[in-house]
Point group: C2
Chain length 323, copies 2
């Protein structure tokens, strides 16, 4: 979240931290104030997937925030996300669940040029299941707990996206989490599968078709996701759904299947009476909020970008700025 | 299935029918003998998706089987598959379930040039669910019932592929069916998603990794397919599964989810004590047979290409050749 307007000089003077959310496909740089809100935000498309070698990362960081770093050289620079992967700037080993802000802070590594600290991703494991991974979302979760202390005791935090993350929080720690590839499935099915061929852009959001998809996943999801998605073709071929509605219908089906699995997983963890918070872009959170309401009347708390607050919390937990 | 060797002239003399299995991505032409086996088989890549307009279809048919048609002009020519879709040679309306060979035969349409009869696809519907569609597989199912009469009373017939079909058969009729986009999901995830990036070709089949995927879908499939497939990345990133094994693991996961839904659907229809037959390419049927055995010890009957037998049965049901 971005705090109220102030002049660039005021923002620079008030900043406590230079924070970087550096994912695969882009970078966002923040001047973070004492309240955990971004005083200024900048974005570039120079994500970790586009970069190779320490010099390239250092140059991009300098372009994005070099003026801030020179004006306030005493401010710590903290970065989270794929910048810390084995293909990133520094390979920062995953922290393991259960983990709180202190555990994440103790796993930070400094870049070779000394300019920035990089936050570890998080790994969850156990129960005979394969491991699951996140990089960047752990910082957003820490930020959500900072901004909404009522989530610390018990909560389910959902971060919708290309790879949605569902996290179980107890006592301020992330106990476990699960990834759902919902956003990427939608993209590859729409762009590369037979389902995309009949779809037309509606230029808007077809709420009725979207909700039909959500409810179809809820009511008949036991028939299987790979079966149900084919109806985004059969409904089009038979003319029972207009072509501009098919994309939102498929989106509803895929998100409905995410809720089907995620809400059962949340109930199995006895978190179905704890708050459910959505953290992410407002447009996507609105879609998920609508789906949750339709699926089972779940009311979700919605938080916008909590990465700045998370970066500030982790800087405090690491002792690089006073708590 | 192709019958024993014979000379081209003998095959032509013995043929009862010229059969064409004309799908989206290819065409197979058969001289079909009285036993429903192919005496000769030819294949081309000129599928319906590559053709536009009646003249193009007529020219491809002539290339594939024109010599047979001129040598035996009295033989009927029957075609099934996407050639009968609204984007094909002739738009042949779907027959609706429940349907037997007679119902399919009565829905055939002749091509504008009079050379061939085209078999309708099949539509299933009802129970408040979206419609489901097949074109081509209905002919293979009819062929399976012709070749294995013990399947006519009650059976579940599974046709694995890009779009796998599960069909419920009772009293010689297809009562209902369900498509699973398993093969296409595998292809788009491998070629276009983050999951494909870590995968390496193994040059063989990693049975252990495949079975691990099947069992993961069986034992923890309630966690959701879009969650579980992400483990084909997390197992690679963490080095817990070697890169050449990841593709077969993902294949096992996706097929395992198809079985999870399909076997429950079969049991709901009270067909779990009826035979389960796999119809398709031997390599794919072996994979499904292995998965079925691992999943729940189900023994499947395996049939190779049953399209020639189905084309013959439908020609007989239509009265264009004597039964």
């Amino acid at each position: 979240m971005v705090s109220g307007a102030s002049s660039p000089a005021d923002a620079l003077a008030a900043a406590r931290l230079i924070g970087i959310d550096w994912g695969s496909s882009g970078l966002r740089a923040f001047l973070v104030g004492a309240d955990g809100l971004a005083l200024v935000e900048r974005a570039t498309a120079q994500g970790a997937a586009t970069l190779s070698g320490a010099d390239a990362y250092a140059a991009v960081l300098d372009q994005a925030a070099g003026d801030w770093m020179r004006a306030r050289p005493e401010l710590p620079v903290l970065a989270c996300g794929m910048v810390g992967s084995q293909y990133g700037w520094v390979d920062v080993p995953y922290a393991t669940c259960p983990a709180d802000a202190r555990a994440l802070a103790s796993g930070m590594r400094r870049t070779p040029d000394g300019t920035a600290l990089i936050i570890p991703g998080l790994l969850t494991d156990g129960g005979g299941l394969p491991p699951d991974l996140m990089r960047g979302e752990e910082t957003q979760i820490v930020g959500a707990l900072q901004m909404r202390p009522e989530l610390r005791e018990q909560a389910c935090i959902v971060l919708p996206g290309t790879h949605s993350k569902w996290a179980q929080v107890r006592g301020g720690r992330v106990e476990r989490f699960a990834t759902h590839m919902t956003g990427e499935l939608y993209a590859v099915l729409r762009q590369h599968s037979v389902l995309g061929r009949l779809m037309q852009d509606s230029g808007g959001f077809d709420e009725a078709a979207y909700c039909e998809g959500v409810e179809m996943a809820r009511d008949a999801g036991h028939l299987g996701m790979s079966h149900q998605i084919f109806s985004a073709r059969s409904l089009g071929v038979t003319g029972r759904m207009p072509a501009p509605a098919l994309g939102d219908y498929l989106s509803g089906l895929l998100i409905g299947h995410e809720l089907r699995a995620g809400l059962e997983w949340r109930a199995d963890a006895k978190l179905d009476h704890a708050p459910l918070a959505l953290v992410g872009s407002p447009a996507l959170c609105v879609r998920y909020q609508l789906a949750l309401k339709r699926y089972s009347g779940v009311q979700a708390l919605v938080l916008d970008n909590t990465a700045p607050a998370g970066l500030l919390s982790l800087a405090q937990a690491a002792g690089v700025i006073p708590a």
